[in-house]
């Protein structure tokens, strides 16, 4: 069955270069982007999707549907038919919906088409800050509780989880100033309104290169080629290795119940799209690690992310519900 439909698709594509009635895709596919135009999810999706669409020999129209930390977009896709004509293009946020009480579904209620890439979190600091690495930073924060102003992007966001990791290892206290995204927070860091900000490498790298802020920690288990000489956080805080590697990710998903051949075709298309030279270069420049995984491998990664993050958030005391309620195992 699967093979015959695939063969049909290939034949149709080869024969006419257009469309065939009984092959997927026979019409436009909607891609629903969870975040706004110009954000990093938007950029990544708009960069990879045309390549995937080409591999699929179809047309994927992308739309931004924002709001509710991405829950609006997810709810929309889950309300459509499971026919593979509506894709959810999202980031890591849905994995926290259940424990934060933001939604009833997460990615385990969907089928991963491709987990495209993963980002590496780093700690950046204002240039005038009196610390240059994690050890000094922790020491300073201990000596001056509550004095360091750290940017935060809402409960369940990258900063809250990275800070939860840190506070599980060291008894430190910060003033957390809320921002709606790492872009505005990094701007505030350069203007002196913040002292330290945990952010994804790609968002901060250009500012770091220009000397407008400094890296004080790399939240990973090994060095990163973009940040030569910055030692991984596990050097100063070995306990962090329990959680790492950990990082925000981007992925494409469809509703559960989508026919297998359609899923297989989409997975193949995105796997091919992610191999594109331009896309790989773009991701490398931004410090993202390409994963392009699907199937069980993707499920395993997604479950791992959810388990680490949910329990961190729960233990840090800002989850609305216990991960146990949803059968999320402790890492």
């Amino acid at each position: 069955m699967k093979a015959s439909i695939l063969a049909l698709a290939v034949a149709a594509a080869a024969a006419t270069g257009a469309w065939a009635d009984d092959a997927y895709p026979s019409k436009e596919i909607q891609g629903i982007i969870q975040w706004g135009a110009g954000g990093s999810t938007d950029t990544v999706m708009r960069a990879v999707t045309p390549h995937a669409a080409k591999a699929l020999d179809g047309n994927i129209v992308m739309q931004n549907k924002t709001g509710g930390v991405g829950a609006i977009a997810m709810r929309y896709v889950q309300s459509q038919k499971a026919d593979g004509y509506t894709l959810l293009m999202g980031a890591e946020n849905p994995q926290m919906y259940k424990v934060l009480g933001l939604g009833t579904d997460d990615y385990s209620d969907m089928i991963p088409i491709s987990v495209l890439a993963r980002g590496v979190p780093i700690f950046v600091a204002n240039n005038d800050a009196p610390y240059d690495n994690m050890a000094e930073f922790v020491e300073y924060a201990k000596a001056n509780p509550g004095e360091v102003r750290v940017g935060s992007t809402g409960p369940g966001g990258l900063t809250s989880i990275v800070l939860a990791m840190l506070t599980s290892q060291a008894d430190v206290e910060f003033t957390r100033v809320p921002f709606d995204g790492d872009g505005p927070a990094l701007t505030a860091l350069q203007g002196g309104a913040l002292d330290v900000m945990p952010a994804v490498l790609g968002a901060a790298i250009e500012g770091v290169k220009a000397g407008r802020m400094k890296v004080i920690g790399l939240v990973d288990v090994e060095e990163n080629p973009l940040l030569p000489g910055v030692e991984p956080i596990t050097a100063a805080l070995p306990g962090m290795s329990d959680y790492l590697p950990w990082g925000p990710f981007f992925g494409v998903f469809v509703k559960k119940g989508t026919p297998d051949p359609v899923v297989a075709e989409l997975q193949a298309a995105y796997a091919e799209g992610a191999q594109n030279e331009d896309f790989r270069k773009l991701m490398a420049d931004r410090g993202f690690t390409i994963m392009a995984i699907a199937g069980d491998e993707a499920m395993e990664f997604l479950d791992g992310y959810r388990s680490v993050s949910s329990w961190l958030v729960y233990d840090a005391g800002f989850a609305k519900k216990s991960p146990e309620e949803f059968g999320i195992a402790r890492p």
Binding site: G36, G68, V69, R75, G154, V177, D180, E206
Partner: protein, 506 residues
């Protein structure tokens, strides 16, 4: 020398020139249709121009941006429906002119002044970008909060009828802006437990409802009266007119550049602030404000086009978007293999000058397309109302849906359309509602950031305001404008004037 060559790139490459022109032309129409926004057009262009080189892609986007910001004024003047939020102030004096049959003259002045404002914006971008971006970075959360308060005080000059009704409208707008999942803490606000409300209410939907649908409903009452014939023989304003408004347009252009350069504020706030400024400094307007004063067109239109150049300042120097459109352009540069950020000016200074060149070109095209084809546009107003009104309603629905592909926004838009209809009848101003929605997040988020940064200590908060020169200046401005609007102050001025009068008589 290299810079000059880069600057001239667009002029020396016919295909780039063509793309800028095409973009500007399309932009004027995109801007004129409420619901089609420049943000939308540019993000679609990202997928569309994906396989192109970076220069043609950026040229097209810049054209659309420049044309779109200007295009919003068209429908504001002709139909009393702003095509974009930055044209709300333009409708206040533009539409009364159209009602007198002077739409051609209004469009002419608007075009020339938009061109002028655009040029000032680009000039500041070209000559002082690093200094302006450093200044913009020095704005702390409390300064943004003060700026928002300054904006809210505009309610005073936007509501000509009853000030109390204006205050109500403004507060309503601020409350509308807070609906949904709070982006800082993810707390639900005014959602009444309804998941659909979590996404909040799009301010474009509110604007389309209040200005589009409510206007259409009002017009229904005069559905059979003949449309005003428009005189379009004198479109290009005389040199005297331009010269007379030069000082005002310089001031409002600078308001536009600064507001545009601040990340988080854009042409919409700039235009309203400029309108307020014009009302404040113009002693003898050509006609009373609200009855077709040229000054009421000059100020917002120079400011919103100057804000375009302003928005590019943090984008080009720091990789920080100045508004929603530049945010998408940054994404586009990434996709095309560039790394926008503070290093772009160092590693690829040419890119900066090419963009400045493209902006200048787009600005020139805007002048060209603005002053031609007016006849076609004025024909739209001369359409029978029985056709025009249903079409406006249809466009309002499509436009509200297109903002975020959400039917909820359509329902909000219709609700606010009917609500706005009653507000108009009973003398509640609509502008302050939109102003409130625009400023809501700016005020709320930055108040919380500021007070959290000072660890909930009001003493430290005020100490911070008094010790920072920038905050102090903003505070003084807030206090002065507030005083100048309170009845007490007016009474004092009035009494002073009377006394002087009596002295003169006696």
């Amino acid at each position: 020398m290299d810079a000059l060559l880069a600057f001239l790139t667009v002029f020396t490459h016919p295909e780039l020139l063509l793309l800028v022109g095409l973009g500007t032309f399309a932009g004027v129409y995109v801007g004129a249709i409420p619901g089609l926004s420049v943000t939308m057009a540019v993000s679609i262009l990202i997928s569309f121009t994906f396989s192109w080189d970076v220069l043609p892609a950026i040229s097209l986007m810049i054209g659309i941006y420049m044309g779109g910001v200007y295009g919003g004024s068209r429908t504001a003047i002709l139909l009393n429906i702003p095509g974009a939020p930055s044209a709300i102030a333009t409708a206040m004096d533009g539409y009364p002119m159209a009602q007198r049959g002077e739409a051609g003259q209004a469009i002419g002045v608007t075009t020339v002044m938009s061109f002028f404002g655009g040029l000032i914006g680009i000039a500041v971008l070209a000559l002082a970008a690093p200094a302006v971006s450093d200044f913009a970075l020095s704005f702390q959360p409390r300064d943004y909060m003060l700026l928002a308060i300054l904006g809210i005080l505009l309610v005073g000059s936007l509501s000509t009828g009853s000030l109390v009704k204006g205050i109500f409208s403004g507060s309503l707008g601020l409350a509308i802006g807070a609906v949904g999942l709070d982006p800082l803490t993810f707390t639900e606000r005014f959602t009444f437990g309804v998941p659909l409300l979590q996404g909040g209410i799009s301010f474009i939907a509110v604007m389309i409802g209040m200005f589009g649908v409510s206007e259409a409903l009002i017009q229904l009452q005069h559905v059979n009266s003949a449309a005003v014939r428009q005189k379009i023989d004198r479109i290009v304003p005389s040199w005297d007119t331009v010269k007379k408004h030069l000082p005002l347009s310089m001031q409002t252009s600078f308001i536009g550049v600064i507001i545009g350069a601040l990340p988080g504020t854009g042409g919409d706030i700039a235009a309203l602030m400029a309108y307020d400024h014009a009302k404040r400094v113009t002693k003898k307007p050509s006609r009373p404000f609200g009855k077709g004063a040229i000054e009421g067109l000059v100020a917002p239109e120079t400011a919103n086009n100057a804000a375009v150049g302003g928005a590019f300042i943090p984008m080009m120097t720091l990789g920080i978007p100045g508004d929603a459109v530049t945010a998408i352009m940054i994404g586009a540069l990434f996709i095309h293999g560039l790394n926008p950020g503070p290093m772009l000016m160092v590693t690829q200074p040419d890119m900066f000058w090419v963009i400045v060149g493209a902006l200048v070109t787009a600005n020139a095209f805007m002048l060209l397309f603005g002053l031609t084809g007016i006849r076609l546009f004025t024909k739209i107003v001369e359409l029978p109302r029985a056709v025009l009104i249903p079409l406006i309603m249809l466009l309002s629905i499509v436009g509200a849906y297109a903002v975020n592909n959400s039917v909820t926004d359509v329902y909000w838009m219709l609700g606010f359309g009917v609500f706005g209809y009653f507000m108009r009848h009973y003398g509640y101003p609509l502008g302050p509602v939109i102003l409130g929605v625009i400023l809501s997040r700016l005020l709320d988020d930055n108040w919380r950031r500021a007070i959290i940064s000072d660890r909930e200590d009001l003493g430290a908060f005020f100490h911070g305001i008094l010790t920072s020169p920038l905050s102090l200046v903003l505070t003084v401005a807030v206090v002065l404008i507030f005083l100048s609007q309170t009845p007490l102050w007016r009474a004092a001025i009035g009494r002073l004037g009377q006394r002087r009068h009596r002295h003169a008589a006696g």
